[in-house]
Amino acid sequence: MAQTSKQVERQEGGARGSEFKTSMATRYGFDRAFSILVTVAALVGVAVLAVLLIDVIGDGSGRLSLGFLTSFPSQIFPENSGIYPALIGSLWLLALTAIISVPLGLGAAVYLEEYAADTRINRMIEINISNLAGVPSVIYGLLGLGIFVQLLAPLTGGASVLTGALTLSLLILPVLIVTTREALRSIPRSIREGGYALGATRWEVIWSHLLPMALPGALTGMILALSRAIGEAAPILVVGAAAYQTYTTAGPFDGYMALPTQIYDWISRPQDVFQELAAAGIVVIMAVLLVANSVAIVLRNRFQQRS
C-alpha cells in the first residue's frame, strides 16, 4: 500500500518536472540587481557623511589647533577664539545626562517589561512613551524651562548645567526605554523560568540574568540616545545655555555653554572667520561623539563576549 502511493508520487513528480520552465540568467540577473541596489543604499549614507566631513574639515582646518580647544570664544579677537568652555559644558551635559537618564530608563524598562501587569493604565503608559519619542525637542526645552528652570529653581539652581541635563534626559528617556525593553523582550522566557525554578525571587532573576543579558542591547540604545542628546541645540537654548561665559563649568549648579549652541552662535554671524570657527566646532563635536561611541561599543563588545 505504502509502496504504491510512493510510486504514484514519483510518477507525478516526473510529470510535473516537465512543467518547470526557468531561465537561470533572468533569476541571477535579479539577484545581482538587488545586491547592487542595497549596496548603493548603504553607500549613499556613508557618502553623504564623507562629503560633510570633508567639507567641514576643509573649512575648519585652519582654525583647528590645541589653542582652539583651550581658548575662550571672543568676538573682539575672533582669530583667537576657542571652544574650551563649550567643550567642557558639553562633557558635563553628557555625563550628567547619562547619570540621570540611564538608571531611569533601565528602571522604567524593567518595570514595563517585567513587573507591569497587562492593564489599561500600563498600556496607556506604553503607547505614550512611544509617542514621546516623536515630540520635537524644542517642546522638551519648554517643558524643562517651566519645570526645572522656574518651578524647581531652588533645587536645580535655575539655568544650570543640571537643568540642561535634566531636560536632555527627558528628551532621550523614551528612546532608552524602548530599546531596553526590546533587549529584555529578546531574552527567552526559559531563562526567567530557569531562575524561578531554583527558588529565585524576581529581583534575583532580573539582577543576575536579565540585566546582564539585556546590557549589550541597552548600551546600543544609550549610544544612540546620548549621541542625540549631545548634538541637540534647541532644548538647551530654551533652558538657558549661555551664549558666552568667562568661566568653565565646574559643578552641576554652574551655568554652561555647549558645543551645538556655540556652533549655532558662530554660524549665525556673517564674517568668514566665524564660519570657519563653526566648522572647526563641528569637527570637535563629531570627534567627541566618535570617542563616546567608541567607548560604548568597546563596553558592549566586552559584555557580549562574556555572555
Partner: protein, 290 residues
C-alpha cells in the same frame, strides 16, 4: 454539591460510563500492597489558563525515591500539571491552579505558602536546555548562593556536576560559558544546577526530547542514579523511556478536543505497560494512537 460531586454529575450528563468514572476516581490511589513512603500527595488538582481549564481533578500519590513518569498524547495537560507541582504554572500571566499538593506535611497551595521556598524544595528541569548566560561554574553555584548556601561552593559544584554525569567533560573549563556546551551537556548542566540547591523532588518536563540518543542515554543513566536520593517526576513522550526508567506511570488523556486533561490511569509502570485497566491506556502504550 461538592466539586467532585459536580464533576461526577457532569460526567453522568455527558454520558461517560460508570466504570470510567470509577476508574478516574481510583486513578490516583496508590497501588494495593505498596508500602513506599509518600513524596508528594496531589488531591483534586485543576489548572487554568485564564478561563480555560487545562487539567481537571488530578489526584496522585507520588512515592519518595521513585521515578514517576507521566505519559499521554500532546496537549493533554502533562506539562501544565507538572508545573503545578512547584508552583511554576502561576508564573504565566493569568494561569492559576486549584486543589492541594502536599509536600512533607505542607500544602504548597495553602495560604502563606511561599512559592520561592517551594521551588527550591521542588526543582525543575525543562524541555529545552536553558543554561544561564554565565560560566559553567556560575550556572551551578548561582542557585545555591541565592538560597544562602554557606558551605564549600567548589565542592558543591563538583558534587552536583558529578551527580549529573557532567564533571569529567567540563572539569577543565568551568570558567567557560555554559552556552559553549552541546545540547545534551547543557541539559545535564541544568540538572546539575537543580541538584545544587538540594531539592527533595525533581520535576523533569520532557528533559530528553530535544536531545540525540547518546545524550538521552546519559540523562536516563543520571536519573537511575538520582532516584537513590531524590523523588523524580518526569513527563515524557517516549514510551520506551517511561518503561525503562520509571517505577510508576500516570497516563493523561483528553476525551474531546477542548476538554481539560485528566489523569486516566495511574499504576506501577509494569502494570501500565503490560496489563492496563483501561482501553485508552492500552491503545496509547501499544502505539495505536498518539
Amino acid at each position: 454539591m461538592t466539586q467532585s460531586e459536580r464533576t461526577r454529575e457532569e460526567q453522568r450528563l455527558t454520558g461517560v460510563s460508570r466504570d470510567r468514572r470509577e476508574g478516574r476516581r481510583d486513578a490516583g490511589r496508590p497501588p494495593a500492597g505498596d508500602n513506599g513512603t509518600l513524596g508528594m500527595k496531589i488531591q483534586d488538582l485543576s489548572a487554568f489558563y485564564g478561563g480555560f481549564k487545562a487539567v481537571t481533578d488530578v489526584s496522585m500519590d507520588i512515592r519518595a525515591n521513585k521515578v514517576t513518569a507521566l505519559i499521554g498524547p500532546s496537549g493533554c495537560g502533562k506539562s501544565t500539571y507538572i508545573r503545578c507541582l512547584n508552583r511554576m504554572h502561576e508564573v504565566i500571566p493569568g494561569a492559576r491552579a486549584e486543589g492541594s499538593v502536599t509536600l512533607g506535611d505542607q500544602d504548597i497551595y495553602a495560604k502563606g505558602s511561599d512559592p520561592v521556598v517551594i521551588r527550591r524544595r521542588v526543582g525543575m528541569v525543562f524541555q529545552k536546555p536553558n543554561p544561564f548566560s554565565k560560566s559553567i561554574y556560575e550556572n551551578v553555584a548561582w542557585g545555591a548562593r541565592i538560597n544562602g548556601f554557606r558551605g564549600d561552593v567548589d565542592e558543591l559544584v563538583e558534587r552536583s556536576l558529578r551527580q549529573a554525569a557532567l564533571w569529567d567533560e567540563v572539569k577543565d573549563r568551568l570558567k567557560e560559558s555554559g552556552y559553549g556546551l552541546s545540547g545534551g551537556q547543557q541539559q545535564r548542566l541544568c540538572i546539575a544546577r537543580t541538584l545544587a540547591v538540594e531539592p527533595e523532588v525533581i520535576l523533569m518536563d520532557e528533559p530528553a526530547s530535544a536531545l540525540d540518543p547518546v545524550s538521552t542515554q546519559k540523562i536516563e543513566d543520571t536519573m537511575a542514579e538520582l532516584k537513590k536520593s531524590y523523588t523524580v517526576v518526569i513527563v515524557t513522550h517516549n514510551m520506551q523511556q517511561a518503561a525503562r526508567i520509571s517505577d510508576y506511570t500516570g497516563f493523561f488523556y483528553i476525551v474531546n478536543m477542548g476538554d481539560p486533561g485528566r489523569l486516566w490511569e495511574f499504576d506501577e509502570t509494569e502494570k501500565i505497560f503490560s496489563n492496563p485497566e483501561r482501553k485508552e491506556t492500552e491503545d496509547y502504550v501499544t502505539g495505536r494512537f498518539g
